[in-house]
Subunit: 73 residues, 2 copies
């Protein structure tokens, strides 16, 4: 994505890996030098390309955690 | 998004709500009449418009839950 500057400040965890080596990861990422946000996104090997994803605040992650803990997974 | 057919089969939980009424939701959604997937996404009020989001399998949700439970949120 041209023009978007980002820095992965912390790699928190890998949710899955596809047969082509793309990984779905939860990271802490700073976009355009702003304060870092939690980011759940697909990445090509070595983070060479990024796929679709969403950013979340700490409060959103907490709420998501509570929702997942209430599910019968 | 023109041409994409979807059905929200289950509304699992709301992660957050913005000042404009958009909500970040975890739902079980069938896309183009295929088997339903878990979907984390922003929605306008009444699900009138959809924003960015990602779909996940049950296995991915489990792993994400474990990652979140290991974090000091």
């Amino acid at each position: 994505m041209a023009g978007i500057k980002y820095e992965i400040e912390e790699q928190i965890g890998v949710v899955s890996e596809s047969s082509k080596g793309w990984t779905k990861e939860l990271n802490l990422i700073s976009w355009n030098e702003r304060e870092a946000k939690y980011d759940l996104r697909d990445w090509a090997p070595e983070h060479e390309k990024m796929g679709k994803g969403i950013t979340m605040s700490r409060e959103e992650l907490k709420k998501l955690r509570d929702i997942l803990n209430d599910m019968d997974l």
